[in-house]
């Protein structure tokens, strides 16, 4: 019998607790090898899919159930704009968060005006939105950036705002994996990833975090896992985190494959 010991820490979201979670991250890091990647590809290939498959922590938490179609709204635009604005604030300290959000918004509108935005993109939606809608988008992005800035100020080590989410394309399995990441904390020898989500964590928040941890590790060119993957739910005032151990990575990979299987079953039922 193989005993699998995964980690899941649950804390209140306070500066002290977050400080402890980051500074107390394990020093040993797991690493995924080419054999691991090959094995994962084979498992995904074994789960047939009629089209391209996209999996992330949300799909794992929802057990592969398809949600309503994505639409741009102030709440869905806030993260892209808020993270971009915070990057600007970190680069130019004299810049206020509101001004940084306005600059970020102006960049998006410029992209649309110069014809670089494709239909369905954020820039395209913003360009077609009325003035008050842009105001509400600004308000939401300011909320997001301010909240993230407050979180960053409580971190014990240097941090950066992630420039993009982590993506990993599973070779020959028509499967893309995406992991959300907002802040990257660099300790001397390891990295800790911080992800911020709205609402409150559900019962499957742990598997969701492990899925993000696994995808983040797969997306790393050396396959090195982050020391710790921390999920924050500021609305609920709680944080959960998982360590970058091999057991957690395996568990995350298993959940991703299970989600692909669940998605296929649902498609089969719908077709029947």
């Amino acid at each position: 019998m193989v005993v699998v010991v995964t980690t899941l820490h649950h804390r209140r979201l306070t500066t002290e607790q977050l400080h402890d979670l980051v500074s107390g991250a394990p020093t040993e890091q797991a690493q995924l090898t080419d054999d691991h990647r090959t094995s994962l590809s084979a498992r995904f290939r074994a789960v047939s899919s009629p089209g391209h498959r996209r999996l992330d922590a949300w799909s794992v938490e929802q057990a592969g159930k398809g949600g309503s179609a994505f639409r741009w709204a102030p709440a869905t635009a806030r993260r892209v704009l808020g993270n971009g604005a915070l990057r600007r604030v970190e680069a130019t300290e004299s810049l206020s968060i509101i001004d940084a959000v306005r600059d970020e918004l102006a960049d998006q509108l410029l992209r649309a005006a110069s014809g670089y935005a494709r239909a369905g993109s954020l820039a395209y939606w913003l360009a077609s939105s009325a003035h008050p809608v842009l105001g509400l988008v600004t308000s939401e992005a300011v909320n997001w950036a301010t909240q993230l800035h407050e979180i960053g100020q409580g971190l014990p080590s240097p941090w950066t705002v992630a420039t993009a989410d982590a993506y990993y394309d599973v070779a020959t399995a028509r499967t893309s994996l995406r992991a959300r990441r907002d802040l990257i904390v660099d300790n001397d020898t390891s990295r800790v990833i911080v992800r911020v989500r709205a609402g409150a964590p559900g019962k499957s928040a742990g598997p969701g975090l492990r899925a993000d941890l696994t995808i983040e590790t797969l997306a790393n060119h050396d396959g090195v896992a982050p020391a710790r993957f921390i999920g924050l739910w500021p609305e609920a005032g709680v944080c959960l985190c998982v360590d970058g151990t091999m057991d957690d990575l395996r568990s995350g990979a298993r959940d991703l494959v299970r989600t692909a299987v669940a998605q296929r079953r649902q498609r089969t039922l719908l077709a029947a």
Partner: protein, 265 residues
Amino acid sequence: MTTVLDSSPLSVVDALRGDRTRRPRNDTTSSAGLRATLDDGIYDIIGAQRLATPVVVRASSLHQHTKTTELSMSSHGRLRGVLVSQILRLLSVGIAIDHAFDDAVAAWRSEVGSSDLLDQLDRLDDDERARLATDLSAHYVALSQALGPIPARWLPRSGVRASQRLAGGSVILRDVVDLMIGTTANDVASVALFDVTTSPLGEGAERTMRFHALVQTLRTSTVPLRTCTFSTATGELWIHDVDYELLARSVDEVLAAVSSLWSSS
């Protein structure tokens, strides 16, 4: 300390700022005690069982009494309240408002997509719509004149949501603060909570102010500096400095609401 300002101050922002030198140190220890008191109180009401459907307590749960309906809870009042909140969100980031009603509706529509209240707005005939638009314009003028510009360094956030699970998830406190300024990352308390209502201020408004302070304390584990409410109907502004006594009072009110909701379910 309670401050009641019958005449308009220079601006709400000035009133919220107060005297910087008299701010207390950040209280990060009270929240654990408050949470424990709430958990114990809930245990006394519903026992050890885990409810499949949680009891949800909102600020509005503290207002409603049996056989009493407030004007603000009417359909017209609710629409007006939602639209004034949207206007506040736009004002908080310095957006110029050309036409209060149209701008607020456009912002609201982009946020919610569809809802029962939005359907009610769409079902209004021309006369009712015009009446609501005129009413809203008056409230917008009162709000914009009282609020004044909000400095960016005060870190204004609008429509800040919070939800707190208590007693293992059997009770959930849900709250939305219209405007929050200041940060918890200071050595001294600096977070001020601002609530706007389109009704005259009364006992319900006081309970709401306390509820905002309690939920914010539970969410961040840091006691905010002030909680305040402004009536766009009368121009009145009530401000309370937040202390343990105020929070303990809110705990009692929440427990009373839980008891009432639990017995009626």
